[in-house]
């Protein structure tokens, strides 16, 4: 009878542990890597499912077989590196905490979008843009959508200064593409981060199914030993 009592007590222990896993900020134990394309490079961080970042972990970035960069993560578990053009193969980042945790994230070559190809010469559609147009894409905080609608003829020189001035030189197609890509990347980044975190979340249903699968196995074991006699 006492044995039954202790089994019951232990039965109560496991749901308690389960709820602990759900309620407290600490949770699962597993290393994951979050990486995203940022401008001409890749930035991201490692995280443990449920909390904690690996500081001082070794990271290594590869494109196919060639090593692009290596380093150690900072106090936030973050890393960043530039990716040379053209991007010919998927870029992988491997994190190693040097105590047995290893995790990898892969960015397909397609993720690098227009950046993947070497910068094409100016598209024919653009009105003969002068020196400033050859500069790298301007900072993304300019109100990009207004630019293409402006009358292109006047070709004001000097940097594109946003504001309300109507005569803005229309940027070339690759520039627009770069601007749009930068804006989309900036908007999507928090979503990607959230998806990665949700992916790595522990789900109550999963934990419960694990516990009950184990108990079910015990039942099957008991049935099998009972049948043998």
């Amino acid at each position: 009878m006492r044995r039954v009592a202790i089994l019951l007590a232990l039965l109560l222990v496991s749901p308690a542990l389960v709820s602990l896993a759900l309620v407290s900020p600490v949770a699962a134990h597993s290393l994951r890597v979050f990486a995203r394309v940022e401008g001409a490079g890749v930035a991201g961080y490692g995280f443990f499912v449920g909390g904690g970042r690996p500081h001082g972990a070794l990271w290594r970035a590869r494109m196919g077989e060639t090593v692009l960069a290596t380093g150690e993560t900072d106090a936030e578990g973050a890393f960043a590196f530039a990716v040379p053009r053209p991007v010919t193969d998927a870029v992988t980042v491997t994190l190693d905490t040097r105590e047995g945790h290893v995790a990898t994230a892969t960015l397909a070559a397609a993720r690098f979008g227009a950046h993947a190809a070497p910068a094409a010469p100016t598209a024919p559609a653009a009105s003969a843009a002068s020196a400033p147009a050859a500069a790298p894409p301007p900072a993304p905080d300019i109100a990009a959508p207004t630019a293409p609608t402006a009358p292109a003829a006047s070709a004001a020189n000097g940097p594109i200064s946003g504001a309300a001035a109507p005569p803005i030189p229309s940027p070339s197609a690759p520039e627009v593409a770069a601007l749009v890509e930068a804006a989309v990347a900036r908007e999507v980044a928090p979503l990607l981060e959230r998806i990665e975190a949700m992916d790595a979340r522990l789900r109550f249903a999963d934990i419960l199914s694990g516990v009950f699968l184990i108990l079910g196995l015990a039942g099957m074991g008991l049935w099998a030993t009972g049948r043998r006699r």
Partner: protein, 208 residues
């Protein structure tokens, strides 16, 4: 930590770990009887849920293993208990991997089994609950360090790029060993007072 992912270890280490774990499971299944099954399952469930709970410690993150307690309470039954829990953790949460299942089982159950065999009799026959508790604490701490050592050895034997650094291992496993020892001491001390038979692995006699 004790969940080594796929693609890190070399084939001989994976096969060796798998074979040893299979032998352990075979040995356990021959000796397990219907009195031992519920207890094995419940401790397996405790390990399954408990080792999902991780706390950030220093540069890394650790979780409890309960393998010292399991070794004392289950004897060789610890091997299937750990195997089943790890299999479910790999399938449901992607912790560890399917190819490394054998090695991971060995890393966790091996030290627990050894501790159960070495410390178990002394814990059961200890004069007082405090003494049993102390012995269990020592066993629990040693088991955590043993697991750390075995994980490091598995990576080192694979001659992989991921051989752990002693400095990082120590920073991770010493706090874990302390916590593991405390937990084992509390659980065993409590069981010794209220249910001393629980500390006896109820296995069928050899060959039964």
């Amino acid at each position: 930590m004790a969940h080594i992912p796929d693609g890190v270890l070399s084939a001989p280490v994976l096969v060796g770990g798998g074979v040893l774990a299979a032998l352990g499971v075979g040995w356990a299944l021959r000796r397990i009887d219907d009195r031992a099954i519920p207890r094995t399952a419940i401790l397996s469930a405790v390990f399954f849920a408990g080792s999902l709970v991780a706390v950030p410690v220093g540069p890394s993150s650790v979780h409890l293993l309960f393998s010292g307690v399991m070794g004392v309470m289950l004897g060789v039954g610890i091997v299937p208990a750990v195997l089943v829990a790890l299999l479910l953790q790999a399938m449901l949460f992607g912790f560890g991997g399917l190819t490394t299942l054998g090695v991971n089982t060995l890393d966790i159950a091996g030290p627990g089994l050894v501790a159960g065999l070495l410390f178990g009799p002394a814990i059961r026959h200890a004069a007082s609950a405090a003494r049993a508790s102390l012995l269990a604490g020592i066993a629990g701490a040693l088991v955590a360090l043993g697991t750390g050592g075995m994980v490091a050895a598995a990576l080192w034997l694979s001659a992989s790029d991921y051989v752990p650094l002693a400095r990082v291992l120590a920073a991770t496993y010493l706090p874990l060993a302390f916590a593991e020892g405390m937990i084992a001491a509390v659980i065993v001390g409590f069981l010794r007072k209220v249910q001393p038979e629980a500390l006896e692995p109820r296995l069928a006699p050899r060959g039964a």
